[in-house]
């Protein structure tokens, strides 16, 4: 992981993609978002969505998984090269989240992170998901506390 000082606005990372299956859409919905258009094909067909679609939080959760795994791959690469890895803290939250279009069964969503202007000690990034037709289905501004290169807890300049 780059340190706070290394963050550059506009830095873009393609973190992976995911194809949503009907069984995982329903399993997520049973656990966290039991609304009929996420659970049942026939009910979804009668709804304004027209077909079974994923909970918006399911899309958010899949995106988070890919963001975390991409960061862990990047950290492993830095360690392999013998470079210091910045510690990251918890997230204070997220804002400006939109779901402009539903994610339907069989849709493949490409996930990416683009660095936004950092806040005090915070890495801020726009995470987004784009379907196979190039349409935005999910976007959020996410923030995470991130270690500074100077005055790290060991008192050693990194």
């Amino acid at each position: 992981m780059t340190y706070f000082e290394d963050l550059r606005v506009g830095m873009r990372t393609e973190v992976g993609s995911h194809t949503f299956r009907a069984d995982e859409i329903k399993a997520f919905a049973r656990e966290f978002d039991p609304q009929s258009f996420h659970l049942d094909e026939e009910a979804a067909a009668r709804s304004h969505f027209g077909a079974l679609c994923a909970s918006g939080w399911h899309t958010a959760a899949v995106c988070l998984r890919h963001i975390v795994l991409a960061r862990q791959r990047q950290e492993a690469e830095l360690r392999r090269r013998g470079e210091a890895v910045a510690r990251t803290g918890p997230s204070p939250g997220l804002r400006d989240l939109v779901w402009p279009r539903p994610v339907y069964v069989g849709d493949t969503i490409a996930l990416r992170a683009v660095a936004s202007r950092p806040d005090v000690g915070l890495r801020v990034a726009r995470h987004s998901g784009i379907n196979q037709r190039g349409e935005l289905v999910y976007s959020v501004l996410s923030s995470t506390f991130i270690e500074r290169r100077v005055r790290n807890p060991d008192g050693v300049q990194a």
Partner: protein
């Protein structure tokens, strides 16, 4: 069934409590947020927030579940266009029990669509000690009574 017209500004609803276990925390994390502080008691020691705690998105999903069970299952819900803000205010630990309080901030029918209306909520989740752990401002879409009745839905 609750339609758009049934949501009144200033109404406050309360749902829960919902208990969260270490197994719940690790199961969500393994699937969606595989970081050590959400996966493993030993690895989570001496991290920035000391000890195992739930992924923030896990708490958001529990918020969704409480809201779906409390309101949406018997409503003209049409999903959500988005969320203005989520703030994680305190870590949620194994054994915590969460209660959701939701206040209706605004309810407006958009000019361009007569079949539905937008309802803005401000919600707070608190733990058993009444300490706030999450705050969310979000918008939901609900079918209007006349449109739902025209579609054969009893409202």
């Amino acid at each position: 069934m609750r339609a758009f017209e049934d949501f009144k500004v200033g109404d406050i609803m309360e749902f829960g409590p919902l208990a969260i276990t270490a197994a719940d925390i690790k199961s969500f994390a393994a699937r969606f947020d595989p970081q050590p502080m959400h996966l493993d008691e030993a690895a989570s020691r001496n991290t920035v927030v000391d000890g195992l705690f739930a992924s923030g998105l896990h708490i958001v999903c529990l918020h969704m579940r409480l809201f779906a069970d409390g309101v949406l299952h018997d409503s003209t819900s049409m999903g959500s266009p988005g969320v203005q803000e989520v703030r994680y205010l305190a870590p949620v630990r194994a054994g915590d029990s969460l209660t959701l309080r939701v206040e209706i901030i605004s309810a407006r029918p958009p000019k361009s669509r007569h079949e539905m209306g937008l309802v803005n909520f401000l919600s707070h989740m608190v733990n058993a000690g009444n300490k706030p752990v999450l705050e969310m401002a979000a918008t939901l879409m609900f079918g209007r009574r006349a449109a739902a009745a025209a579609n054969g839905v009893a409202v």
